[in-house]
């Protein structure tokens, strides 16, 4: 179920997804380290880091699709709904999705270098 690109929920949905991802990442890391900690000597290439990287790519990909959908809806070619209010909502939402996508990906970047549980 995707809301119409002109629905105001889009203004916050991207960042809500980012926030949930953040909670999942932090919570998952804590639980992963509590129950199945990889050895500290293994460095960064552990199952925890790899899993978080994969999920991050999925979340980012989804957010980018949303950003693209909103952006396309606001382009002049789909002029049928090009009222200023609709354009405002869809363009701003596209930017919010984009920011969320970048932010979601950035969160896991230190995982390339740092071991998870120390």
């Amino acid at each position: 179920m995707t809301p119409s690109p002109f629905h105001p929920i889009n203004l916050v949905l991207g960042l809500i997804i980012w926030a949930l991802w953040f909670v999942l990442l932090y919570g998952g890391l804590s639980i992963g380290c509590a129950f199945a900690p990889p050895d500290a000597g293994d460095g960064a290439w552990t199952w925890i880091n790899a899993a978080s990287l994969v999920v991050a790519l999925m979340v980012t990909g989804y957010l980018l699709t949303c950003a693209y959908a909103c952006w396309k809806a606001s382009s002049p070619s789909s002029a049928a709904k090009a009222q200023p209010l609709n354009t405002f909502i869809s363009k701003t939402s596209a930017a919010v999705y984009l920011v969320s996508a970048v932010a979601s990906l950035m969160l896991v970047l230190p995982g390339v270098r740092l071991p998870p549980c120390v």
Partner: protein
């Protein structure tokens, strides 16, 4: 880092003041939009993101060295420190030495300080040796430090811990390896 940030500060403020002084010619709407977007894109997105990338590129490896990972060669010296309101209990598990408000360590050897607290939260900090780490009741945190040069270093509690927080201090004395062995012998004999 400080240099770069000072530079950013001066440039941003300078631009603002210039922008206030400036009396622009009227320009076309399209041109105005272009100028606006350029400002926001470069100043609002590119500048902070590149600054962050640079900082992280330096910062993450630097933080990595402070982790209590097994050192490349030799073994880290373990010392247990327990904080009390308002003094420090120091224990050497290898040699059984007990001290109060002072640490004696060999220079050039990595130290693993096992920190905990007997009452409230304290924080172990020797400003000239490195970062601080909190000492929590019921938990043990491990801080990796190394004194590169022999000498005396001031340390103090960095987390507010009650009335005499300001006076909760200690010293770290770092010796050359031979002097450290001498100190160690003397301490064990005294016991």
């Amino acid at each position: 880092m400080f240099g770069w940030f000072t530079f950013v500060l001066v440039v941003v403020v300078g631009l603002w003041l210039y922008a206030i002084r400036r009396a622009p010619e009227p320009v076309s709407k399209a041109r105005a939009r272009q100028v606006q977007n350029r400002w926001i894109l470069w100043g609002g997105l590119v500048l902070p993101i590149t600054s962050m990338a640079v900082i992280l590129a330096f910062g993450v490896p630097a933080g990595h060295q402070m982790l209590p990972l097994p050192p490349a060669e030799g073994k880290a010296l373990r010392i247990n420190v327990t904080a009390h309101q308002w003094w420090w209990e120091v224990q050497y598990p290898d040699s059984g030495i007990q001290l109060k408000d002072e640490l004696h360590v060999p220079a050039g050897v990595p130290l693993d300080l096992h920190l905990t607290s007997a009452d409230v939260i304290h924080s172990f900090w020797v400003p000239r040796l490195g970062g601080k780490l909190d000492m929590l009741p019921g938990r043990t945190n491990v801080l990796r430090l190394q004194a590169d040069e022999p000498g005396t270093y001031r340390g103090q509690c960095a987390e507010f811990c009650g009335t005499h927080h300001a006076h909760m201090k200690f010293t770290v004395t770092a010796y050359s390896p031979e002097d450290y062995q001498a100190w160690l012998r003397e301490e064990t004999v005294n016991d």
